[in-house]
């Protein structure tokens, strides 16, 4: 039981996250010229940073395993997933289907992110937002994007 609570602490996961990111960076830095102190290549500074980050990550992992720290906060999947999805939908649709459909799709998905939204209020907000954005961003600020498909 004790080990479980220890593993659940935020230090462990923070450290793990840093180690993983540093490792990914190191894989890509491998392909760069490192050079020497006198003739630093593009990879010299990033390599140093990634190694330090890796080291610090490992220290934090060890600290997380040996001492009881702050527990990881509860992750609420509902707002997280729907907000992220709503942005992805906007990105996918804005060039293919135009601004209005992209906004309506985004509001439609973001609607589910909260339990307190009502369909009527969200629908009105969505329609008003698509009109206002078309006027402000496309007509006034001249963002090069189609309003309709």
């Amino acid at each position: 039981m004790k080990s479980l609570t220890q593993r659940g602490n935020s230090d462990f996961y923070t450290g793990l996250l840093l180690v993983v990111i540093a490792a990914i960076a190191l894989i890509y830095i491998r392909t760069l010229t490192i050079g020497t102190v006198l003739d630093m290549g593009p990879g010299y500074f990033p390599l140093g940073l990634a190694l330090i980050l890796m080291g610090m990550g490992l220290v934090i992992v060890v600290k997380g395993l040996t001492t009881a720290g702050v527990p990881v906060g509860t992750i609420h999947l509902r707002p997280l997933c729907f907000i992220l999805l709503s942005f992805a939908a906007f990105g996918l649709l804005v060039e293919r289907a135009g601004l209005i459909i992209a906004i309506l799709a985004q509001v439609g998905l973001a609607h589910f992110a909260s339990r307190e939204t009502t369909w009527l209020a969200s629908a009105i907000t969505g329609v008003l937002l698509s009109i206002a954005s078309s006027v402000v961003f496309v007509w006034l600020l001249k963002i090069p994007v189609n309003v309709l498909p």
């Binding site: 923070t14 996250l17 990111i21 890509y28 760069l32 102190v37 593009p42 934090i60 907000t125 954005s133």
Partner: protein
């Protein structure tokens, strides 16, 4: 001295153009708005509005973004006093005595003193920028690359001071930010680095996508986790004109608060929040009747509110004269300047006098506007608290998406925002602050450039950083600052300040 006045006059001619006045007003109104609305800090809002300023000319954009920042210091106090909810972390202490005063039917008095104190402190802070800016910039122009490198280190260390929680983890966040800042083209060879073969990353990670994800959207998601509570305002606002007796009582506190705030704003690792806490502590200590504090002492409102405004102004000094940000908000402004093609640093004053003096003049104008926005229109702001978040977040999400898209007209930036939102959310859950990450990201390329240049000129001798006197002093300062955070007695005090 005469030069300063002439330059300021020129600044006013820049800031008083109708268009720039509109931007100044827009910034002040937006700032008050976010200050009033809890759960939407200046960092999040500036990152949300950053793309909107992309279409503006750089001077208008900076005037507006700066207005948001100092405007938030005014707005934050309103809700702290009226409903005991500090809109900003800088107004936390204001709520202690301010809300007590409101309960005693002295809300108008507290609001008026807060606004007057803020105005005087804001103007004083602005004068300090005008007087201190040019000589500091001249001094910084003598800096060689090793000195710059050490200056960046000092800037990064100050990010650790401002971070809540373990300093070691804050440092690791800085390194993560520095590493993210390396993505893109290598300055010397033009070779693509860590771009995962994606052509969209060859210019580096889009700054707007990074801040919008880490701060803006991630904050929206965490707000959605809590039940939305409707805030009811019970306290009536009596006359907003304070009596002479109250003014006399608050005068000393306003003066002391202004001085503390001015100092803390300039110092690395200072900032508006710490300034307001220190001012409250000082007022309590110098008062002959400390028992009144916590029961509606006017000094407890006047001091901290003056301090946070003075600090909000003077924190522009390191940014405009040396190009180093001392807080996450200032790091955002570095990003904003860079987006507009202006390299922040000592050359701003000589090469962009319109920008520097125009910004300073706009601060005077903006502070005056804020008093008007805040005092007579106070009822309007309080009513704004009733806008339901279930509608607000939809609006924020759509504006964010369009904003990110409009910077490069690229959907890729939106996907990148999705990625950084996920990262920002995870970091929040892990109790790791993204602010030091942002500082590392912004300073990363400059740190590398100066590091490489220093070692080339010194023929690979790393001792060059200790041999140059300026560099040595800056490094020693950084070391002292870092040690002071790690030292148990001081770190305990720091925790207390954050816990309060």
């Amino acid at each position: 001295m005469i030069d300063v006045f002439a330059a300021l006059g020129h600044g006013f001619s820049v800031a008083a153009t109708p268009l720039n006045l509109v931007f100044c007003l827009l910034g002040a109104v937006c700032g008050t708005l976010i200050g009033v609305l809890p759960g939407l800090g200046p960092v999040a809002t500036i990152s949300l509005l950053l793309p909107a300023t992309y279409a503006l000319d750089p001077i208008g954009a900076i005037i507006m973004l700066a207005g948001i920042y100092y405007g938030a210091q005014y707005g934050g106090s309103t809700t702290a006093i009226l409903v005991n909810i500090p809109g900003e972390s800088t107004s936390v202490v204001t709520a202690i005595d301010g809300y007590k005063m409101a309960q005693q039917g002295r809300a108008g008095e507290a609001l008026a003193i807060a606004a007057i104190g803020s105005f005087l402190a804001g103007c004083f802070g602005t004068v300090v920028i005008a007087l201190l800016g040019p000589p500091l910039a001249l001094m910084t122009q003598k800096f060689a690359s090793p000195d710059y490198f050490s200056l960046m280190i000092l800037g990064l260390v100050s990010a650790v001071v401002l971070a809540n929680g373990s300093p070691f983890r804050a440092v690791s966040m800085i390194f993560l930010g520095l590493l993210l800042g390396m993505v893109g083209m290598d300055i010397n060879t033009g070779e693509a680095r860590m771009t995962f073969g994606l052509i969209e990353l060859s210019d580096g990670i889009n700054f707007v996508a990074l801040v919008m994800g880490l701060f803006g959207v991630a904050e929206v998601i965490s707000n959605l986790e809590n039940k939305f509570t409707r805030i009811v305002n019970h306290s009536k606002i009596n006359s907003i004109w304070p009596s002479l007796k109250v003014l006399r009582g608050a005068w000393g506190a306003i003066t002391r608060g202004t001085l503390i705030g001015t100092l803390f704003g300039i110092l690395p690792g200072g900032g508006a929040t710490i300034a307001s806490f220190s001012s409250y502590a000082l007022e309590k200590r110098v008062s002959k009747t400390p028992e009144r504090f916590g029961n509606g002492a006017i000094e407890g409102v006047a001091g901290p509110e003056s301090a946070n405004n003075a600090a909000a102004q003077t924190s522009f000094v390191p940014l405009l004269t040396m190009g180093i940000p001392t807080s996450a908000t200032m790091a955002l402004l570095v990003g904003a300047l860079t987006l507009h093609g202006i390299a922040p640093g000592p050359t701003i004053i000589s090469r962009q006098p319109d920008l520097f003096w125009g910004l300073i003049a706009s601060m005077f104008i903006g502070n005056a506007m804020l008093v008007i926005i805040n005092l007579p229109l106070i009822g309007l702001w309080v009513r704004l608290l009733n806008v339901p978040y279930r509608i607000l977040y939809l609006v924020i999400a759509v504006v964010c998406a369009i904003g990110v898209y409009s910077v490069n007209n690229s959907s890729f930036d939106i996907y990148m925002t999705v990625g950084f939102t996920a990262l920002g959310y995870i970091l929040r859950k892990l109790d790791a602050e993204p602010a030091p990450l942002l500082m590392g990201f912004v300073l990363g390329p400059m740190v590398e450039e100066n590091f490489r240049r220093s070692l080339i000129t010194s023929h690979g001798d790393p001792m060059v950083f200790l041999q140059r006197p300026i560099s040595l002093v800056l490094l020693l300062l950084s070391a002292v600052l870092l040690i002071s955070i790690v030292m148990p007695s001081i770190s305990r005090r720091r925790q207390e300040v954050f816990q309060e």
